[in-house]
């Protein structure tokens, strides 16, 4: 690197004084401060208690910056949790409110602290002008002790009050261990060593590789089977229903029912109650074993809201939240749930609807395993109520209440 060398004798940049004790330094600093200098500083191996007033250093604005960062962190946490869990992806968790403040507090707190801490360090570095690779004082051999056991005071020549002999005399009067001129560095500035530059460049290139691979993976297809890491998650040591079995003679994993046996609780002998039929036809009445009353209706409502409403909607109109989301996402394969208040369903025998809940119909899955027999009937009862409500006329409203509807 053939750097341009300035002509003429090196310029004087300032004077530096060295002291042996913090006390000496502080007293010197007070004198320099009183002499009205602006561009000067002291260098010490550790922070000296009392140097700030002695140098006239004003309190830093760092705490305010950190406060702003903390508030930003808090706001970010609040917006993040609200947007992700209540708006963009409303997530039903045990019926808790989407925006539940108590459950959000831990993350509010953590992000507040995280943002503040990163800013505290970052702002300290930036305001202090770090990193600062070169400094005129670096040329002085003795100055290395500023981080060890000596104390230095440096007045820059660019200070308006600076006068070569007067400033020297001022510092002389503070009894320094050593007093020296600081000259401009005329040697060509040493760049970073070559191997370091090459190493850093290689590191940067290597850091790009994973991202390139990600992008490539997202853009391309493969006909290779996927890689199985942690394979025993994918191939578990257990029997799956449709898999072959080496153990049983008939080679089936799922065991056929023993002839002439009935599993406990599966006798299902009441044709009306269990199968929704009367003399082979779908029943048009509710089984006599189940009372049809207010309590049954209420129970039917809760069970409907849990099991059916996510698809069919709270009013049965077929606009449940699962369906709406699928449509928002433009899922082409999605079969919308039926509007339960339609005419043909109003005419559907209750026994058929009961059976359909338990066994499923076309694209709708079976809910028999989840919902008890009694509750399936009660849901049917409630669906009947919804159908009535969905097709109601003013005549259905008790005369006394009609005034409130306009």
């Amino acid at each position: 690197m053939a750097a341009h060398r300035p002509e003429g004798p090196p310029k004087l940049l300032g004077v530096v004084a060295e002291y042996e004790t913090p006390t000496a330094l502080v007293h010197a600093a007070e004198k320099v401060r009183d002499a009205g200098f602006q561009h000067w500083d002291t260098y010490t191996p550790f922070p000296i208690h009392g140097i700030d007033p002695a140098m006239g250093i004003r309190p830093t604005r760092l705490p305010w910056i950190v406060l702003c960062a903390g508030l930003t962190g808090l706001t970010t946490a609040a917006l993040l949790q609200w947007w992700t869990n209540a708006v963009d992806y409303p997530w039903v968790i045990s019926g808790k409110p989407f925006l539940s403040i108590p459950a959000s507090v831990p993350v509010y707190f953590e992000l507040t602290v995280l943002f503040s801490a990163l800013t505290a360090l970052g702002a300290m570095i930036v305001i202090n002008g770090l990193p600062e690779p070169h400094h005129p004082l670096d040329l002085k051999e003795r100055f290395g002790r500023a981080t060890d056991d000596r104390f230095f005071l440096y007045i820059q020549a660019r200070d308006p009050k600076f006068d070569e002999s007067a400033t020297r005399a001022l510092l002389e009067s503070t009894h320094p261990e050593d007093l020296d001129d600081v000259m401009e560095d005329q040697s060509s500035p040493a760049g970073l060593p070559r191997p370091l530059v090459i190493g850093l460049a290689a590191l940067v290139c290597a850091a790009i590789v994973p991202f390139v691979l990600f992008v490539q993976a997202r853009q391309t297809m493969t006909d290779q089977p996927r890689i199985h890491m942690v394979p025993d998650m994918d191939f578990q040591l257990k029997y799956k229903t449709q898999k072959a079995s080496a153990f049983f003679a008939d080679g089936r994993t799922v065991r056929p029912q023993e002839p002439a046996t009935i599993a406990v609780g599966q006798l299902d002998e009441d044709e009306h109650l269990h199968h929704g039929r009367v003399e082979g036809e779908y029943a048009r009445t509710f089984p006599s074993a189940l009372p049809v009353d207010e309590a049954a209706m209420k129970r039917g409502q809760t069970q409907y809201d849990i099991f059916c409403a996510p698809c069919h909607g709270l009013s049965g109109a077929g606009d449940g939240i699962v369906s709406r989301r699928a449509q928002d996402k433009e899922q082409s394969m999605w079969v919308p749930p039926t509007n339960l208040t339609q005419g043909y369903l109003r005419r559907m025998p209750v026994g058929q609807m009961y059976e359909l809940i338990g066994k499923g119909v076309r694209n709708m899955p079976a809910y028999g395993p989840q919902i008890s027999i009694e509750d399936r009937w009660r849901i049917v009862l409630y669906v009947r109520a919804l159908q009535r409500a969905g097709n109601a006329t003013i005549e259905d409203v008790p005369a006394a209440e009609r005034g409130g509807l306009n």
Binding site: A24, H27, P45, N128, E132
Partner: protein, 471 residues
Amino acid sequence: MAAVAQPGATTVVQQSAGGNPWAGPPEGENVFGMITQNVSRLTEAKPPRAWYVAFAIALALLTMFGLSLAYLFYTGIGVWGNMVPVAWCFDIVNFVFWVGIGHAGTLISAILYLLRQDWRTAINRAAEAMTIFAVVCAAIFPGIHIGRPWLPYWMFPIPNQMGMWPQFRSPLEWDVFAVGTYATVSLLFWYMGMIPDFATFRDRSTTKIRRIAYGIVAMGWRGSSRQWHRYERAYLLLAALATPLVLSVHSVVSFDFATSQLPGWHTTIFPPYFVAGAIFGGFAMVVTLLVPARQFFGLKYIITLRHIELMTKVILGTGMLVGYAYGMEFFIAWYSGSLYEGFTFINRLFGPYAWAYWTMIFCNVVAPQIFWSRKMRRNVWVAFAVGVIVNVGMWFERFVIIGTSLARDFLPSSWGYYVPTPTDYTTLGGSFGLFFTLFLLFCRYLPTVAMAEVKAIMPEAHVQHGHGGAH
């Protein structure tokens, strides 16, 4: 009070046998120089043989860790003993254990800093390093126990093609934020504290590599008072931020259990109980690490008996808090009138895991009582031994909480008994390898003691008012 023995008053120093380049009294023109020399020589001189031996052992353990993880990824979670009903065991026990260890560091640096406990300066750097390394060990366990270790990014709120977001009402998600923030803030705190000391190393360096390496991390720090002013303010702020953070981390970790409905987990005492346990275990680990470190690395002049004694007092105090929590758990189990809670605790005492329970009681409640005696507090090897015992005890505490509660919960027909596999043990042992490898590298290459901070609390550092300069 000075943390460092006065130069003249330093007890007759024994030049340790074998010409250990790290031992012996430090030299220097003045106290400040002596501190610089005492700490810097650890990174400048060739280390004694003991270091190489320790490092070789640690590396061997680390290799074992690597192999255990490779085996895990190659085969799957089945290599561990986890099996329903005990679906969480060593993986989570180790996670909670290591996170707990990681508490003492920031506690010493932040809380003791705010409380103006000057003695902390001798030990805070090493304790902070320990924190970072413990959190590194801890972070590995949730990563490997998720079963699909290539998907941990699902835990972070990153927009993705599935249109899904993490579930912020889950304590496991809070954990991600709590541990993540804690690791980051501890790292910042540690690094920031080291900047001035890196500058010292840079200015003392005799080789070009050292000069560049330490020069980069020191970022051109030269000890300007204007910079010190902002530095100290930023440090104070970090301490103030880290203080509630320390208390929050283990509280959040305890929510993983407390918000569930399992008997033995579902208790409100967990957050303070876990925090006390973490401080207890963390201090025990600091003592375990620093006693040999000061003995072999010639840090006796900086880490004095007084520091060891103060730490043993903290261990005694927090140990009693932990003992109180154990007792209170029993009281609440009885007072709740819940059949299952009551059973869980009786089962801990006399059930199939009674051996683990009584080990825990001995290690955590009985052993620290020895520190009532001043003589024992000032015997470094007793302190060391109790430190090790407490660490064992704190590991067992997590095992008792997690293992016994899961093994026998509500339905007797679904009870089980957890037996760890050899891989469980090698993974646990291997994580110590990672921890010690990092710690030994730290001792060798980084400033083990916060030089600038120790210097600042020396009597010589105080400015005398009234009379003129030093002359």
